[in-house]
Amino acid sequence: MIKEWFKSGAPWVWMTAGAVSVNLILVIGLLLLIATRGLGHFWPADLVEYQYHDNEHPETVIIGEEVGESLQPAAQARAAGHEVPDGAEYLLQHLVKTGNRDILGSDFRWIQDQYIVRKSETADLIVIERREWGNFYGRLLAVKDNGATIAEGEAAWGVAQEKLKDALALRNQIDKLQNGEIGAINYNLERLRLKQRALELKNAWNEEYSQQFAAKKQEYQTQYQAAQQKIGDLTLQLKQCSLSVADANQKRILIPLGRVVKLTRPNQMSVLDKAQDYMSNFVRFVTDDPREANTEGGIFPAIFGTVLMVMLMAIVVTPFGVVAAVYLREYAKQGLITRIIRISVNNLAGVPSIVYGVFGLGFFVYIIGGGIDKLFFPEAAPAPVFGTPGLLWASLTLALLTLPVVIVATEEGLSRIPKSIREGSLALGATKAETLWLTVLPMASPAIMTGLILAVARAAGEVAPLMLVGVVKLAPTLPLDGNFPYLHLDRKFMHLGFHIYDVGFQSPNVEAARPLVYATSLLLVLVIVGLNMFAIAIRNNLRERYRALEN
């Protein structure tokens, strides 16, 4: 009977079903993996204090977050010099994030379960998120103002929080001055220099200009000094307060409040507090600038760069894609030409993205960009303006790359519009162009929208070509700011996908940066999957509507 069952082919049907299940498990598993790892990043973990006693060292205290645990095979453990009880195949070990990189040298440490003498979660343990050297774990002893202790013991906590609020406000002011005023002054000075150079090149530089420019320069210099003065004052204020803290082994250090980003006592937080903290961590992640070679802080510039680049790309790709689709569906006679165009579209979709990068670098950046520089920016030479990878070229390259997506989606939309509608319009005396503009395109607009969304989703995740045409690991300024002409198409920018690659693979401290990479990945996946779902929803909705029209 089993033989017959095999003969009927039923097992093979089950095998094919199994393949579908495996695919589904892979998709869901992958999304879950990213989600759990990424979401965990923001949750304030409890701090644990271990009394630790191993063979080589006297009893020490370790404070940190427990990040993971693993089983070490007995053979490996013996090789590492640990005692292994008879018959044990594995030793349990914990990975602890100990922070205090300035004292300990690294952020993480593996500890052996067997050497832990005691484990406690005392309430007074604090986490200080710092601008440098990563997190600090330990205890708060006192708050000092100009070296004098102003609060100690239990009272220190409240005072520290208050002072921290002031310090953060000061820091905010300094940053604003630094990026806003000083940035603007430097930008204006540079523009002045370029103007002068341009005039010199035209041989129009004369005494009058010379005085005029000198006066302007003087004005900027005074502004600059004033701003510097302000920053100096604020910095002095900022330096006044500091926290006196002790690490696990009672080593006392002073942390200036100016270097503190956040001070928390996770062991005292209720679940509600933690949820609140979680939200604020997430908001800071999305809105802050990165710190410490991108391994800490937020990813705001990367989000901003990605969005801006994708928007520019959308502006370019939509008209081209729609026109091409309209030609294929409405104007061209179906025949050899349309066949060739369809093959071209498929090839555009199939050409490896890195080839677009190579093309973009050579053609857009060096040929077109270099040409623009020669024609319009001779004064900047030898520094390139557009002749170097930048936002504009990245957008154009990606527009080319996503063109087929828009064409295919638009064409599908056009093909679903019933003939009767076009014929109706023509019968009422409209020209073909009017029919197109007034009836066909408006009806196809959701399809165009779908194409656009899919293109945006594709562009947001593409990294390989961008590495050649304008993405950098750390851009000093955003491509959009308050200085004329506001949108700086020539600037390099940061990008979420590249950020993941860079932090995950090129950063000096990959282990510490990993949660951040997961969080960034999660954000990118959410955006892209969300966009795709949205596009699918629009498309399905559209199909329903046309089906209704046809009947």
Binding site: W5, P11, G18, N23, I341, V351, F498, G504
Partner: protein, 758 residues
């Protein structure tokens, strides 16, 4: 489609219009739109053509033949100063210099031979010049051997001055060892040959004296430097070359080997690492009987000797270390420059190139890596001396009748030839010819190794293994979803799997590199066990299911099979990982990786092909799945219903009717998936070690064409050979995917027509 309609309508609408002008405007707009749209549509073809031609345009100079053009011909500048011993040019090709047998350096303009200055070297009146020699071509250092066993060393120096935007170059001579000649022979015999190298801390001078002794003088800088002239410690040792004549002396840059060569072709190589005790290492005859050596020079880098013989052959000899760590002097390659003897050789200073001059007036430029002759020209009168400029874009040739030819050379990419890109090349310091990609290094002496074979191999290896993962999963999945699955489930499952394709590959690469690679390293046995246990589990479950009572089975709605399999698969996967340590203990002595290494000799790389195969397979699945599923789903229903009605089981119908009809679609799905895998960049970049090795093992890393471009393009100098070769790699990728995609698309278009006719 409604061209016919609209033109009729337009005519009619004209008559009912309000104003003639407005109507004309409307028609004009219609026309403009039609043209605009047509242009827009055709521009898609333009885009793809543009990409192709642009890539070709950058690659093209690699294919252009090199050219040499005579620019000037003039009599020997300051002929009265004596015959030339050596010619040289400076960086900008403006100034040439010739050293004469009367101890003078004549600087002249290269364009017309006008003498700039003549410098008489401070050779003492009491002695006469008895020999001449020099250090490396690029150092500009020369030495005169004198009749009293002393030698004077000099160095060319050029200083650029800018007056406004005009550059002027002032030539002069410096004396690195002082203006008084160095005493090299204690017996004060005349020096007939001299060769030397001056390093930063140590110098070595090799001489041949009139009584045929070969002496090596080692100089090393003293620690305390008070007086510059006296700052060298010296030692003298004699090289015993008994049994052979010595007509050429050579000393390498690293001051490790001294080469003594006779006109008959006898070569003796001495190890001079210890300059007080030179050791004879190799002794051999380089030429067949009856053939004599007519010229010899180092190839740039001083690793290989270029030996020209009387029959016009130019051979590259080098000390080679074989796999057993034994050294020998081997002939790496030879060029036939002509039939006349090679009278002069001038190596390029920054590349592995060389100019040779034959006795019959022919000169040629070769590149040793590419094994190709770039230029061959015939001079009216045979040349006796040649000098190629530092940038290798100009050269000076002195003819036998005392004139100088000034040539420009246009030879930008000599390193590239069909054999250097696609063949095995015997690189310097390698035991045998090999395929190697190693494109750049900081040093000028570096020999670029630009074989694309390891990259193409890596690309094909990665995509092959990825397809091995993707094809079964995606095709089986497509078969089920397209034919067996209930429509209401299909409408969710299909986009669900397709959304996988939208995931950025950078995320897949990141997970592959940082999560999957360590995971696989720890659970290698489990991963392989999955392949076995999962299908078994499914079949077992199906068997049990088929034995269950009919009433129970019918409770499961149609097409839900794949969903109830999810727990089955999860369970069997869990089992696989659970039992893998036991299995590892029984079969592989506890650890599969060490077992692989010890028993099969396979070393394990953490980021290896297996990781890439899984990650890239995952990336390709949705693409193949989507297209194949479409093809299967749109097989006309009357075909399948007919088959079922005739008594075939669903599976028989599937195999014999559906698959057969949809096979072109499935073929094109696989093609497109393969094209995608070949071009994928981020996953391979992040999930492999990016080592360009050629190894079939799935536990080793690789480097693909695309990852190579991503890694090296940002650092390559625009329009350099490296840059163009990277563009060539891009062009290869482009062409490859173009062929695959075009083929796939044509197959699909035909299939669509077939379906519509059915």
């Amino acid at each position: 489609m409604s061209e016919h309609y609209s033109s009729q309508l337009d005519k009619r609408s004209l008559t009912v219009s309000v104003s003639q002008k407005h109507q004309q405007w409307r028609l004009l707009k219609d026309k403009i739109t039609a043209y605009g749209v047509t242009v827009g549509g055709l521009s898609i073809i333009l885009a793809i053509v543009l990409i192709f031609f642009y890539l070709l345009y950058v690659v093209f100079p690699l294919l252009l033949p090199a050219q040499a053009k005579p620019l000037a011909n003039y009599p020997l500048p300051a002929a009265e100063s004596g015959a030339s011993l050596w010619l040289s040019m400076e960086e900008q090709n403006e100034i040439g210099v010739r050293f004469t047998n009367s101890g003078q350096a004549v600087f002249f303009k290269t364009e017309d031979g006008g003498v700039i200055s003549t410098v008489k070297l401070p050779i003492p009146e009491t002695t006469a010049i008895s020999g001449f020699g020099r250090a490396s071509q690029d150092s500009g250092e020369i030495g005169y051997g004198l009749s009293d066993g002393r030698a004077l060393l000099a160095k060319l120096s050029y200083k650029s001055n800018y007056v406004g935007n005009k550059r002027s170059i002032a030539p002069s001579l410096e004396y690195p060892m002082g203006v008084t000649p160095l005493a090299l022979d204690p017996k004060q015999q005349a020096i007939s040959l001299i060769s030397f190298k001056i390093g930063e801390k140590a110098a070595a001078i090799l001489i041949k004296t009139a009584d045929n002794r070969i002496l090596l003088t080692g100089l090393s800088q003293k620690q305390s430097m008070l007086d510059e002239d006296a700052a060298w410690d010296s030692s003298i040792a004699e090289l015993d070359a008994s049994g052979q004549e010595v007509d050429y002396l050579l000393l390498d840059k690293q001051q490790r080997n001294a080469y003594l060569l006779s006109k008959q072709g006898d070569l003796a190589v001495f190890d001079i690492n210890d300059k007080t005790r030179p050791l004879l290492k190799h002794k051999l005859d380089l030429t067949p009987p009856g053939v004599s050596v007519t010229s010899v020079e180092f190839l740039n880098g001083d690793i290989s000797l270029l030996v020209g013989d009387s029959q016009g052959e130019l051979a590259q000899w080098s000390i080679v270390r074989n796999e057993l760590n034994q050294f020998s002097v081997e002939k790496m390659r030879a060029f036939k420059t002509g039939d006349a003897p090679v009278v002069a050789i001038s190596p390029e200073q920054r590349r592995k190139g060389v100019v040779t001059v034959n006795g019959d007036g022919r000169f040629s430029i070769y590149n040793t890596t590419a094994e190709r002759e770039a230029i061959r020209e015939q001079l009216k009168t045979p040349a006796v001396l040649a000098a190629i400029s530092p940038r290798a874009n100009a050269m000076l040739l002195q003819s036998a009748d005392g004139r100088i030819d000034y040539w420009s050379v246009d030879n930008d990419h000599p390193e590239v030839s069909f054999s250097s890109l696609w063949g095995k090349v015997w690189y310097e310091s390698y035991p045998k010819p090999a395929y190697i990609w190693q494109s750049s290094s900081a040093s000028n002496d570096f020999e670029p190794k630009m074989s694309l074979i390891p990259l193409v191999f890596g690309t094909i290896k990665a995509s092959f293994y990825a397809m091995l993962v993707a094809i079964p999963l995606s095709l089986l999945g497509a078969i089920y979803t397209g034919y067996f699955m209930a429509p209401h489930i299909r409408q969710y499952v299909k986009p669900g799997i397709e959304i996988m394709g939208a995931l950025p590959t950078v995320i897949l690469g990141f997970l592959a590199g940082l999560w999957l690679a360590p995971f696989i390293e720890q659970h290698l046995t489990g991963i392989f066990l999955l392949l076995l246990i999962n299908p078994l589990g499914i079949i077992l479950f199906a068997l049990i299911w088929s034995q269950l009572p009919e009433s129970f089975r019918q409770r499961l709605p149609d097409g839900w099979d794949s969903l109830i399999l999810i727990p089955v698969i999860l369970l069997s996967s869990w089992l696989a990982f659970q039992f893998s340590p036991e299995l590892e203990n029984i079969l592989f002595q506890g650890d599969l990786r060490t077992w692989l290494n010890n028993v099969l000799g396979l070393s394990y790389d953490q980021r290896n092909t297996l990781v890439v195969a899984l990650a890239m397979g995952f990336a390709v699945i949705p693409m193949i799945f989507s297209i194949a599923e479409d093809a299967i789903f749109s097989v006309p229903k009357h075909l399948t219903i007919g088959s079922l009605a005739l008594g075939a089981t669903p599976w028989q119908t599937m195999i014999n009717i559906v698959l057969l009809t949809a096979s072109p679609g499935i073929f094109s799905a696989i093609m497109i998936g393969f094209g995608r895998a070949v071009g994928e960049t981020m996953i391979v970049l992040m999930a492999t070690g990016n080592t360009p090795i050629m190894d079939l093992s799935i536990f080793q890393g690789l480097r693909t064409l695309s990852a190579n471009i991503a890694v090296e393009m940002p650092e390559s100098e625009v329009n350099s050979t490296h840059y163009r070769v990277l563009f060539f790699a891009a062009l290869v990728l482009f062409m490859f995917t173009f062929v695959i995609n075009t083929l796939a698309e044509i197959v699909r278009q035909n299939l669509r027509q077939k379906y519509s006719s059915l």
